[in-house]
Symmetry: C2
Amino acid sequence: MAGIADVARLAGVSKSTASRALTGSGYVSERTRDRVAEAAATLGYVPSTSAVSLATGRTQTVGVVMPYVNRWFFAEVLEGIQHALLERGLDLALYDAKPGTAGRRRIFEHFLARKRFDGLIAVGLEPEDEELERMLALERPVVSVVAATSATSVVSIDDGHAARRATEHLIDLGHRDIVFLGGGSTAHWAHVDRRRMSGYIETMTDAALADHVRHVPSDVTCPGGYAAAVDLLGDARRRPSAIVGVCDEVAIGAIIAARRLGIRVPSELSVVGIDDHEYAEMFSLTTLRQVPREQGTAAVALLERHLSDPTLPPTEVRLKPTLVMRTSTAHPDSLESAMAVDMRATPRSGA
Amino acid sequence: MAGIADVARLAGVSKSTASRALTGSGYVSERTRDRVAEAAATLGYVPSTSAVSLATGRTQTVGVVMPYVNRWFFAEVLEGIQHALLERGLDLALYDAKPGTAGRRRIFEHFLARKRFDGLIAVGLEPEDEELERMLALERPVVSVVAATSATSVVSIDDGHAARRATEHLIDLGHRDIVFLGGGSTAHWAHVDRRRMSGYIETMTDAALADHVRHVPSDVTCPGGYAAAVDLLGDARRRPSAIVGVCDEVAIGAIIAARRLGIRVPSELSVVGIDDHEYAEMFSLTTLRQVPREQGTAAVALLERHLSDPTLPPTEVRLKPTLVMRTSTAHPDSLESAMAVDMRATPRSGA
């Protein structure tokens, strides 16, 4: 059976470089790593990672804890993390911790306690105090993506800023009757949603529109935004001239509801979101852009810094979302701008 | 420091039961596992999993290889797998293998070769011959979710049946000019999409509608279906009376395109999908239902059988999708049924 020395000889590198390339511990250029991997594959050599772990005390694995994997934001962050770990030769252990489930309890009490990872990335986890304590007690570096805590390093966007820019944009266009749609439909009010609503309230208040502040709760999903918007828009007496969606999925739900009710966007209703979701373009949604994948990459880079320097204090990386103008917003009652984008105005030769 | 004997004593079970509960090897009731985990947590006892792996030859980890995590089907299957592994005390190592990337090559040549898992689940992977050989050479059981191979065990739905039922439903309603929308927009034509198109073609041919067979390619995403449908529906001479979407996301894209063009669904256009995506209800989409989460659970159960019986031959679990009737399909030119569901007919007091 081939040994590490054979692999190193075939790849034309030192034994220690070959070892680093195969275990993912320490820096090796991408080209060298590929060459070593090829040599190992040719010779059928595979290091016993259990033995490597005992010897180095490193698992070459990063744990990722998240409450959902089937939502746009979480799935995109996960892709970013996966990609960055793959480049570094590290494995990804996934822990799906839905709020309020027995599975989540088991993850905190059992799975994490096994410490089968060198560090943890917690994505939108919103841990209870006790859960946070358990994570910190593991004595492994923890980086959070989106978090209210300052006990760990955090990567996030400035959510308050995003909501303020969205609201300002509508006020600049001349809107006063602006509803904040989404969040707060259950006891679980996510920090990020609350921070966004605070940004909206601050901006309305600064513009002397405190009397117009109105929150319509909904599940933070596209169908949730749709259902709440059907209720809100179906009654002409309650109907606002503009909506700030807590996120793009909710904003898109509102646009779908408006179309079904025959209310034109943007001439009769302006809608702005936060995210730049993959469907935003399709609905011509004006929104504040964040790139969750980059947050995943940034979290891995930050975790790497913690791993190489255990004295590094908790660090915050806060990214600024930018306004992406599409055509879901306009001056109130601006029929002209509507005609330019409403495809129903296109001549129809059939039907 | 507490040892396994202390944990067993506190939990009131034998040492071997405590060990099984903490390592995830062998059967332990859920209640016992919780009790042992609690005792371990109380005493601060955590087994060294590297030592456990060397001793048992088991990693207590299942590897999951998939080309995407940010698409509905894949994310749902992943949730099902995660849930089933969590119940069994097993870790999940995620390998994201996008077709045609350097990362995918590295996963097959390097990551999988480390064999840091007791078995593999390959979700919609469509491996090249060489990739499949590499997986089989690992001498670990492999279960595929959706696959064209018979070299591994497979869990899937009957895709041909799904497309046949969708097409029959439209023919029964009186449609003849039925387009199959989606797939084939790039060199990568997924097996599952091809099998669905074959089901459509067979059914059209059996109904003496071979002359009406028409495939309009698109990316297999909601924006992809939207873009292709805008082209198809925008030209009245090419417009069909009904569309079979290769999946719900494509079908929903077609409905969004129709609404933007002022074409009524279902009175002027019937649309049927395959999936029962989380957005299907919101668009009143008639579709063939599959439950990807159950496929993930079934894959874990099948893998477990392979782990406990290495002589088990490759096994196929094929699930039958069922027709879910909503209101996106109707007889051609059936204005009455349209009025019943078109919310634009609702009286509007405002605007």
